[in-house]
């Protein structure tokens, strides 16, 4: 399934992500997952919120002068079984799909993990994921 991820530029200074978490929290937006990649001076926070809150989170962040963009990413379910992730990744690499980054999160009440994948070829990756599930 293709979902939308919020990608937010952050200066590498103390308390920067706290401000975003507080901003979203105070506005009743729950973060389902996030991941931060960083350099010495700055980083990018990648955040997944509930689907119905995506647009509100985007305009909220923009209104608070954050550099934020929406990125389509692949969301797949991965069972809590040894080798499940390997199966998925092998299928993708066999099809020539390269992964730029990925991160996983568990649902609130489920027995499988959700894996967010940023592939170079989203359409193709999505097709493979659908066949798998």
């Amino acid at each position: 399934m293709i979902i939308r991820q919020l990608s937010v530029f952050l200066e590498n200074k103390i308390g920067m992500f706290a401000k975003i978490a507080r901003l979203l929290g105070d506005n009743g937006i729950n973060m389902l997952s996030f991941n931060i990649s960083e350099t010495q001076d700055f980083g990018i926070a990648r955040i997944i919120v509930e689907k119905e809150e995506e647009d509100r989170a985007l305009s909220l962040l923009k209104a608070n002068s954050y550099a934020v963009s929406m990125t389509p990413v692949l969301l797949i379910h991965c069972n809590h079984v040894p080798g499940a992730m390997a199966n998925i990744l092998e299928q993708l690499s066999a099809a020539g799909v390269s992964i730029e980054y990925l991160y996983a999160f568990a649902g609130k009440d489920s027995d499988f993990s959700r894996v967010v994948i940023r592939p170079d070829n989203l359409e193709k990756a999505n097709q493979i994921a659908q066949e798998l599930q």
Binding site: F9, E11, D41, S65, A67, R118
Partner: protein, 433 residues
Amino acid sequence: MIWNKEMECMSREQMREVQGEKLRKIVAHAYSNSPFYKQRLDEHGVHPSDIKTIDDIVKLPFTVKQDLRDNYPFGLMAVPMSDIIRLHASSGTTGKPIVVGYTRTDLDNWSEAVARCLTAFGLGKNDLVQISYGYGLFTGGLGAHAGVQKIGATVIPTSSGNTQKQMQLMQDFGTTALACTPSYAMYMSDELQKAGITLDRLKLRVGIFGAEPWTEAMRQELQKKLGVKAYDIYGLTEISGPGVGSECECQCGTHIWEDLYYPEIIDPVTLKPVEPGQKGELVFTTLDKWGMPMLRYRTRDLTTLNYEKCDCGRTCVRMGKIMGRSDDMMIVRGVNVFPSQIESILLEFPEYEPYFLIEVDRVNNTDTFDIQVEVKPEFYTDRINELVRIRQRLTSRIQSVIGIQPNIKIVQPNTIERSTGKAKRAIDHRKFE
């Protein structure tokens, strides 16, 4: 269009005669009526009778900004205060402000100079000129104001700040010309875009931009964003204010109204005149300013002069772009750095906003050279490598132009100050005691 064809287009020989005649008079006036100048000339061993032609100007001593501070507030006036009808002052970032006083004749000459500038921009009585330079002690607002009145155009005296209202009036009144600093113009163009005000809702056609140095690349950007022809208007408080010179429709140099303000270029180290066309420090002598004459005032602005006749028909000398100020210049790791260089490099990159802040410090006996920049919102993505690549390209470009490697710090949008006056573009934290 030319406001004063006689003065703006006379032959070089005639101009030199006019200048020589005026110089004789103003030096005699300064010597007789200003104790400051009398003492200066006496110390220097020069007497007004030594001044016969304009070439004799090199015999005169220089005047510098510190002289104005030392004689604060009225020590350089050459008329009784009863003849001074206006005071202006420049905000001193260090020490006391400097104060200038004008007689009625001085104000008339100043508005004449501004009228020449505005006419050269193609403005006339059918124009509505929004003056977003600050009104007050700063010469920008009232200086431009008098010139606009003189050519019979309509003044919209908004002064600086309150950008939302400025944009509203600009639409409602159909402002045709905007007068402000280039950095404020850039800020306003961003605000217009944010507010969704497209160019077809505006009647702007001319930008009257000055009070701080700007680059050709910035002109191109302002012209595109505001739908104007953007002209440089040059001036400085000590010499009268805005309008000492301006560009013409050719946009190929800033004509100096040299029957009023005589320019020279000197080597800032040897203080000797440079060869014609060479870069150096600009020096002005006010030839027709009686309240507070300035003899060979060192502006600290670095530029060149071109005496060739312009395609517009004017013979008045053309000044090149200001290539920095000799006192704004920073020496970082032994290399001369001018903020204007950073600005013009940033404008080569579509990814960056034209705002920046240079911070220099000294850590472990080595100069640090940080430059804060903002990436335009549309260039942010989820890919960190792209930002790293954008930053690397800027780092390399600055290093190749200036010769030292900067530490580029990408900061969040809208964190670098958008000044409504003169933008603060460099901070030197080094301590040299």
